[in-house]
């Protein structure tokens, strides 16, 4: 079962199954469709919600995340923009100032650097600068982090960059449940939300319960989830790496090591309480992320653990598993060795546990 799960999670298959059990309905939904359905439902629910970005309308989305939405909602609510990120991100923020609830798509978060001033200075800081007068109910979303073979300029992870800034909420879903619940929460949130998706996860199917398929299903922003209970060590991760942690945990379980896997779900505000509770239980911590190590998400988590009550429960120093500190290379063998693999997680766990 573990190998089937990891096969499905690796994104190599594109299978949609409709499984109905005798007691409760369960739906197989991939991350792309989860995002699509979430946006569809929120567009229907609130006429102030609209989507803008490159290719979101007539192309059905560069990664097909907005497939079918333009056909259903038309030009007014699904807007194709020219390739001018700074301009359309600013337009989106201005629309949020004036009472609309925009979803601004960046084709990838790499292109957000063209517009980052609008995200930080126009969106994130405005509620504070205006002493609570001007709200900015906007969602910026798009694929973040490494993909496959897209090389250095298209592979950066921005979790640490945006996670650094007060006034933003920064969210990084892993599976379909996360994608659906967090995107709905983000759209309903009256604050600027940076929504970091992952292109490699778009095609991966997960089971969603009937409850999760309800149109008001939301996941609270700012709350991490323990995906797997464990006793020996805590693995904290976000986005695609959560899946790798679960795979590593399955392998380690065979050797008698039970890993507790924490899915951050939200980068900012960080759910330190859940991480601390887990570390106080297991006594060991490894953080896992796709981004670079310096000044990264793992660095923040380790610092917080040091500064809080959980430090006294650590049996060994906390350690980070990260992307290699280089621009992303192109050749497959190099790229494969630039990102954390399951074996790297297993290796680090054993090192921390002195095995």
């Amino acid at each position: 079962m573990a190998s089937l799960r990891s096969f499905l999670r690796s994104g190599k298959t594109f299978v949609i199954l409709f499984v109905v059990t005798s007691c409760a309905s369960v739906f197989q939904v991939n991350v792309r469709d989860a995002l699509n359905q979430a946006m569809d439902e929120e567009l229907e629910r609130d006429e102030r919600v609209f989507l803008l970005g490159e290719e979101v309308a007539q192309y059905d989305g560069a990664y097909k995340v907005s497939r079918g939405l333009w056909k259903k909602y038309g030009d007014k609510r699904i807007i194709d923009t020219p390739i001018t990120e700074m301009g359309f991100a600013g337009i989106a923020v201005g629309a949020a100032f004036a009472g609309l609830r925009p979803i601004c798509e960046f084709m990838t978060w790499n292109f957000s650097m063209q517009a980052i001033d609008q995200v930080i200075n126009s969106a994130a800081k405005t509620y504070y600068m205006s002493a609570g007068f001007q709200t900015v109910p906007i969602v910026f979303r798009g694929p973040n982090g490494s993909s496959a073979g897209v090389a250095a300029q298209h592979s950066q992870c921005f979790a640490a960059w945006y996670g650094h800034c007060p006034g933003l909420k920064v969210v990084s879903p892993w599976n379909s449940e996360d994608a659906r619940g967090l995107l709905k929460a983000a759209i309903r949130d009256d604050n600027p939300v940076v929504f970091l998706e992952n292109e490699m996860m778009y095609g991966v199917p997960f089971e969603l319960s009937e409850e999760m398929m309800h149109k008001d299903f939301v996941i609270p922003i700012g709350k991490a989830k323990v995906e797997r209970q464990g006793t020996h060590i805590t693995l904290v991760s976000h986005s695609r790496c959560v899946g790798f942690c679960l795979d590593a945990a399955a392998v380690l379980a065979k050797e008698g090591v039970e890993c507790e896997v924490v899915n951050l779900r939200t980068i900012r505000p960080l759910d330190v309480d859940t991480i601390e509770a887990s570390v106080m239980k297991t006594g060991n911590l490894v953080t896992v992320e796709g981004g670079w190590p310096q000044y990264g998400v793992g660095a923040e988590i380790c610092a917080r653990i040091m500064e809080g009550p959980a430090f006294n429960y650590l049996d060994a120093p906390a350690v980070r598993v990260t992307g290699v500190d280089i621009p992303m290379p192109y050749a497959k063998i190099l790229e494969d060795h630039s990102v954390p693999q399951i074996k790297d997680i297993i290796f680090s766990v054993k090192k921390v546990l002195n095995m």
Binding site: T84, G94, A95, F97, A98, A131, F133
Partner: protein, 382 residues
């Protein structure tokens, strides 16, 4: 009638002559606008009623006095940080407000005190924001460049960033079908920003009801327009977007132009670009004496020959629409308003430290914010 500028403490003006003596209204010839991609422009004649004249005078004089008071307070070190003064440019803010509705929208850059006033914020709340007190319009948390009001989106510190924001507000107007327009201002220095051209493109493509206005005061900080711009015809820089060049020192010229522009946008024809030729008496900011890149003679020449308030005053006096005494009376009233406001701005207490971490997130439960060290846990409420 135009928008209501805040008139604080109005009293009956007692003058030696009765109101029946004054001319109720008069028509004034105004400078014709240079046109770009327009067959016809605003009227070359403006009708001014006595009430309007007094209102414009009062508003412009209030802005003038308020800015000079800010200059004084800054030199006394009671105002700190950035302070970009608007004196000289009053006709732009007043003319625009006179030509749009309070339900229309406006956004500008950092030289924003004048617009903050014309958009409805009281002088005392502006000055108290400059002095960083809790009675300031942004509770002391924003400062000179970050003051907000209904349908007024600041006050923006990043040069040019306000232009896409303004186009976005215009998009919201179009989306909501409310027949409102957004006036989006920027300076000659900002006029070369790429994001402005990105905004022009989308506004034109989608026919957004956006009036793009370049307040050309001839200098971007210390750089003259000739040294910054390959083309100084800012009203033409919208290229495919029609444009007008307007005498920004004449409040009537500005008013007629903005009425024309607003009608254009409301008719669904898309955006329009305006260039207001104006002048600032102060340097770029309080740390700039303003004479290293221009001559004192030039500044003095504008003051004597082209001052917006003097121009209005002369028009009204020479057409018997007011008297020297009446205007002096208004000046005294304004002086009192400014003095009271300054007193307030000096004596009002600074924000409480409890406010430090508030207003991070809107409509959220209270949360904890890390202080400067791990033992300091601060509270943040929406």
């Amino acid at each position: 009638m135009g928008a209501q500028a805040v008139s604080e403490g109005t009293r009956m003006v007692v003058s030696a002559r009765s109101f029946a003596d004054f001319t109720p209204q008069a028509s004034f010839p105004i400078k014709k606008c240079d046109l770009h991609r327009l067959e016809e422009g605003p009227s070359d004649e403006a009708l001014l009623t006595r009430e309007q004249g007094l209102q414009y005078y009062r508003t412009m004089q209030t802005v003038r006095r308020m800015e000079l008071k800010a200059d004084q307070l800054y030199k006394q070190k009671i105002i700190r940080g950035f302070c970009h003064l608007y004196d000289g440019q009053e006709a732009c803010a007043m003319g625009i407000e006179a030509g749009i509705n309070p339900t229309d929208h406006l956004i500008t850059a950092y030289r924003a005190h004048g617009y903050t006033f014309t958009r409805g914020v009281a002088v005392r709340e502006i000055l108290a924001e400059l002095t960083g007190r809790r009675g300031g319009v942004a509770k002391g948390k924003g400062g000179s460049m970050h003051m907000y009001a209904k349908n007024f989106y600041g006050g923006n510190g990043i040069v040019g960033a306000q232009v896409p924001l303004g186009a976005g507000v215009a998009l919201a107007c179009q989306y909501q079908g409310n027949n409102q327009v957004c006036v989006t201002l920027y300076g000659d220095g900002a006029a070369n920003q790429g994001q402005i051209f990105e905004s022009f493109n989308m506004a034109a493509l989608w026919k957004l009801p956006c009036i793009f206005i370049c307040e050309n005061n001839k200098f971007g900080m210390g750089t003259s327009v000739e040294r910054s711009s390959a083309s100084t015809d800012y009203y033409k820089r919208g290229d495919y977007i029609p444009g007008l060049k307007v005498d920004g020192m004449d409040v009537l010229c500005v008013r007629e132009a903005i009425r024309f522009a607003a009608d254009y946008c409301r008719a669904g024809k898309g955006p329009i670009v305006m260039e207001l030729e104006t002048y600032r008496y102060h340097g770029h900011s309080m740390s700039d004496p303003g004479v290293s890149y221009r001559t004192r003679e030039e500044i003095q020449e504008v003051r004597t020959k082209n001052d917006p308030i003097s121009m209005l005053k002369e028009r009204m006096l020479s057409n018997n629409m007011s008297s020297v005494e009446e205007l002096k009376e208004i000046d005294l009233e304004i002086r009192k308003v400014i003095e009271d406001a300054a007193q307030y701005a000096i004596s009002d207490p600074e924000p409480s430290l409890d406010e430090l971490c508030n207003h991070i997130y809107a409509r959220d439960p209270p949360m904890e914010v890390r202080g400067t060290n791990p033992w300091v846990k601060l509270k943040s409420v929406s």
